[in-house]
């Protein structure tokens, strides 16, 4: 990956925070200890759906060591939620609880144990209501309302969009398939439990340290729901011990800690237990899917109609976006000339679902890729060839008005087919062994912010010190993916210094320009482009000063090896630190902003804001499995993945993201499930919630494909989410290849495989999966012309002076 043009980009360097992480010095939120700090605890509902009749905190308040006890009445009565369209949460519920785990009161005490004892002394009288535990329950009981808002009783959101005439396409198709799939919910399971420390100072200003992926949105929210101007609130994201989307919402414990700190005049820490993290959730939606696709005899897709029903849980969270995402990206991977999507998110009395790695797209990807496998079998085609025939065209628009730019999926397929020995193995493996393939695409950053505005999505301020140190201030949040390091590499590359000469100060709303957060795989591209712009501006000013001193033209200079010098005359120049001194002497303080906002490409229809992205990554994955016909156990033997990352800024980190995605995808494919019995989580512990260990994770072969995207920083696209998507259907397809059964429902657990094998032995259709669909009338589909095949629009005007960072 090393490129002659670059000195830092393309090198497999350690992360800049690697040393702190291997010595235990990294301070996560729960590692913060402040003088006089109190410890907080939330009291949570044991009922899935109930009215709160009375809360008596007297006994808790009387317990020695208790500083304060609050209920929802001690907070402003303002509902909130991450999306402007779903303001349906309360930090502490006042009238009604909607899930087991809803917080109703909070305590601050001298230590955690006292806080816990006090919480148990709070008396709450509930009047249980009928609880709705499934999509079916919620639709069948419209008289029981979980919320009063939405697109119908217990229907959070219902959408229907049509891009061209799918029925006409089906009529002319060689093969039309209808299939039904179910993707079970699962959760992020970050190793770090959420924690927050709030300090309401004597000056009336509030500081919150939190394990959050999105300090900016938390900042906005606190300004809305606390009695303090947002300008007097400072939110600092501590290094996050694993996020995966689970720390993207504002949470009750953050808000309660702030209020308790205000009341006690002490810093207050609230750290969640592992069980609480399972209930806080916001993870993968369980989604039931119906998909109808037309195919030509050569395997070309003629049209697709996709329906999804999402079990949303008790609150909105990101659910409206999740719903649109279940229908948005089908068209980005393959050519789909006409497309129809209908989706509905239904409230149930369970912890709310939200964004987990791949947000709303792994479920439809599972359905699409398994269906293509079935169609290939019917058409007598090699599934790899069939996919290759259907590749979306680079630099064109999709039916639903998304713009595909660089597109390396063809190369990805070729590379995994070659590396895995697909042609030699397919159909020729011993009994019980199988091989499957699947592909995917994913956003490199959401094209729209969660609230509409014309400001940058990411900002950087860069300051050069007279010592030669360069400080990067950026609101981005490092959740382990290495975003701080990426900023250091990019700045070092532009300025010709080493990453070690750059210090990154992230995620502090007082000091750092806004970055919207670590979600939708947006940080490398958006914060990266902002950092490049700031560094380029700094370099221009430094060059100007050095040029004057050396009496040469500024464009004759280059910055490399910690020096600024005349190109091809290394001795005619100055050290970088001297260049900074010259620059500061000429211009004054050297501090420069960089800003980035993605191209405005939202389709001109309602819902067109979900799906657009500066560019899309592509992945192709081959999985080889062994299936034990006696136990039903599926063991992945090896996995090959090729990922179009645009450019690998640091191949080591890209591989790490790919490997982590594969692992998480395998967990979802084979074992992970977030399921409830009467509203109570069936497995709220790390032992019972099965996730892969070293023993269940096979050897992973990662191939990086570079396509140099015009919008990416030095051509880079995302790596942290896309590679999860193809893993799950590739496993399902490999199981079919191994033992001839179709498991159309995740996880592909041993019991399902055994049941399918039984059916096969009885000569029945060897398929496990849903067969009933909810009785639900989607709204009339909004008809929008298909934009399929139109050329991508040339972007001429860009906000904030953004320019392409690197030309080939």
């Amino acid at each position: 990956m090393k490129h002659d043009k670059f000195s830092v980009i393309g090198r497999s360097l350690p992360k800049i925070d690697a040393w702190a992480k291997v010595t235990g010095e990294t301070k996560f939120a729960d590692d913060l200890i402040l003088p006089r700090m109190a410890y907080g605890k939330l009291l949570r509902s044991p009922h899935p759906h109930a009215l709160i009749k009375r809360i008596d905190t007297a006994r808790a308040k009387a317990l020695p060591g208790v500083y304060a006890v609050i209920t929802g009445l001690d907070l402003p009565r303002v509902k909130f939620g991450i999306l402007p369209v779903s303001q349906d949460e309360e930090a502490l519920c006042v009238d009604k609880v909607r899930m087991v785990g809803d917080a109703v009161a909070a305590v601050a005490a001298v230590d955690e144990e006292t806080a816990e004892r006090a919480a148990r002394l709070i008396e709450v009288e509930y009047e249980p209501l009928k609880s709705l535990m499934s999509i079916h329950d919620s639709l069948a009981n419209p008289d029981v309302r979980i919320h009063e808002y939405g697109d119908g009783p217990n229907i959070h959101k219902a959408v229907a969009l049509q891009f061209g005439d799918v029925e006409a396409a089906f009529t002319g198709s060689h093969l039309v398939r209808e299939d039904v799939f179910f993707f079970e919910g699962n959760t992020h399971l970050p190793m770090e439990q959420h924690a927050a420390v709030a300090h309401w100072g004597p000056d009336g200003k509030l500081t919150l340290w939190s394990s959050t992926q999105t300090p900016h949105y938390v900042h906005r929210l606190l300004g809305k729901i606390l009695d303090v101007p947002q300008a007097h609130i400072r939110v600092i994201a501590a290094p996050v011990g694993g996020g995966f989307g689970g720390k993207l919402d504002p949470f009750a414990h953050e808000i309660a800690a702030c209020r308790l700190s205000q009341l006690t005049g002490r810093p207050v820490k609230i750290a969640l237990t592992r069980e609480e993290v399972f209930y806080v959730h916001r993870g993968r939606h369980p989604v039931l899917m119906w998909i109808k696709t037309g195919f030509a005899a050569d395997g070309a897709i003629t049209g697709m109609h996709f329906r999804s029903w999402l079990d949303g849980g008790a609150y909105g969270s990101y659910g409206v976006a999740s719903t649109f995402y279940t229908g948005a990206l089908q068209t980005v991977t393959y050519k789909i000339p006409v497309y129809k999507f209908e989706g509905a998110r239904i409230f149930t009395n369970k912890p709310p679902c939200g964004p987990k790695r791949g947000h709303g797209t792994p479920q439809p990807r599972f359905a699409v890729e398994c269906q293509i496998d079935k169609a290939a079998e019917q058409l007598g085609l090699d599934p790899a060839d069939m996919r290759r025939r259907n590749l979306a065209e680079p630099f064109t628009k999709t039916a639903n008005h998304l713009t595909v730019s660089t597109m390396g999926l063809g190369e990805c397929i070729d590379r995994v087919v070659e590396a895995s020995g697909w042609r030699e193995k397919r159909g020729k493996l011993p009994p019980g062994r199988g091989i499957g393939i699947a592909c995917s695409s994913y956003l490199t950053g959401a094209g729209s912010a969660i609230y509409w505005n014309d400001m940058p999505h990411s900002g950087v301020v860069l300051r050069a010190d007279r010592s030669g140190l360069v400080a990067v201030l950026c609101g981005a949040t490092d959740i382990g993916q290495g975003s701080d390091s990426i900023l250091a590499y990019l700045v070092a590359e532009v300025l010709g210094i080493e990453p070690k000469d750059v210090r990154v100060h992230p995620a502090d709303t007082d000091l750092t320009p806004v970055d919207l957060g670590s979600y939708s795989s947006r940080v490398t591209l958006m914060a990266g482009n902002a950092a490049i712009q700031a560094a380029t501006r700094l370099r221009e000013r430094i060059f100007e000063a050095v040029a004057k001193k050396l009496e040469v033209a500024a464009d004759a200079l280059v910055a490399r090896d910690r020096r600024v010098f005349v190109e091809d005359q290394e001795d005619r120049g100055v050290s970088f630190a001297e260049a900074v001194v010259l620059g500061e002497s000429m211009h004054g303080v050297l501090a420069f902003p960089g800003s980035y906002a993605p191209p405005k490409r939202a389709g001109k229809y309602k819902g067109g804001g979900v799906g657009p992205s500066p560019c899309y990554s592509y992945s192709a994955c081959v999985v080889e499995v062994d299936v034990d016909v006696d136990t039903g156990e599926v063991k992945p033997r090896e996995i090959w993945i090729a990922h179009d990352v645009g450019r690998a800024l640091n191949p080591l980190l890209v591989e790490g993201q790919v490997e982590g995605s594969i692992y998480m995808g395998l967990g979802e494919a084979l074992m992970e499930e977030q399921v409830f019995r009467k509203g109570v989580h069936k497995a709220p512990s790390m032992l019972e919630y099965k996730s892969p260990t070293t023993l269940e994770t096979p050897e992973i072969h990662t191939i990086l494909v570079e396509t140099d995207d015009p919008e990416g920083p030095f051509g880079a696209k995302e790596a942290g989410q896309g590679p999860l998507l193809p893993v799950i259907p590739a496993v399902a397809n490999a199981v079919h290849s191994a033992v001839g059964v179709r498991i159309d429902e995740t996880p592909i657990s041993p019991d399902k495989v055994l049941r399918a094998l039984d059916l096969k032995r009885q000569g029945k259709p060897a398929r496990i999966g849903p067969d009933k669909l909810p009785l639900f009338k989607f709204p009339e589909a909004r008809a929008v012309e298909s934009a399929f095949g139109q050329p991508a629009e040339k972007i001429t005007e860009r906000p904030f002076g953004h320019q392409r960072s690197f030309a080939k």
Partner: protein, 159 residues
């Protein structure tokens, strides 16, 4: 009820008076400010809080400190000697084996115990030794690579 304790942690003898029900994990983090030891479940399920007691990995969330008085306790803060990183720490940093870094201290100590017992572990033996330590970021691949690299380097040094 409180009790007086004397613990030997990272070569230093420390006296303290702590509530009897506090776990070793809590005493390390809260009374000795050794916050490098993390907690993932406090039920003995995830391996995150692993420390070494007389060289053997134990889950500090399940141990009462009184049980380990007089024994050598080692936390991640004790791995680097005089500012020189342990070869495992070096390899983990170089190979990107720590992403969020939250499970890293527990995994480093478990791996250290393995390499003390077995200087030439096979990949399967490394997997077996680390099977009780969950990591959600890395897919384990770079962790296994780093343990193997450290083992190689440690053999080089000792040979």
């Amino acid at each position: 009820m409180k009790t007086r304790l004397t613990l030997k942690v990272n070569g230093e003898t420390r006296d303290m008076i702590v509530p009897v029900q506090k776990t070793l994990l809590e005493v390390l983090r809260e009374d000795l400010n050794l916050t490098g030891t993390k907690h993932g479940c406090e039920l003995g399920e995830c391996g995150t809080c692993t420390v070494l007691v007389d060289g053997e990995p134990v889950l500090s969330c399940l141990v009462l400190p009184i049980e380990v008085q007089g024994r050598e306790i080692k936390t991640v803060e004790g791995m680097a000697e005089a500012g020189r990183l342990h070869p495992l720490q070096q390899a983990f940093a170089e190979l990107g084996a720590a992403q969020c870094g939250y499970c890293t201290p527990g995994i480093l100590l478990t791996a250290e115990a393995l390499l003390e017992d077995n200087a030439t572990p096979s990949r399967d033996e490394v997997k077996e030794a680390l099977a009780g330590n969950l990591c959600r970021c890395t897919g384990y691949t770079k962790i296994l690579d780093a343990v193997e690299l450290a083992a190689l380097r440690m053999r080089g040094t000792h040979a």
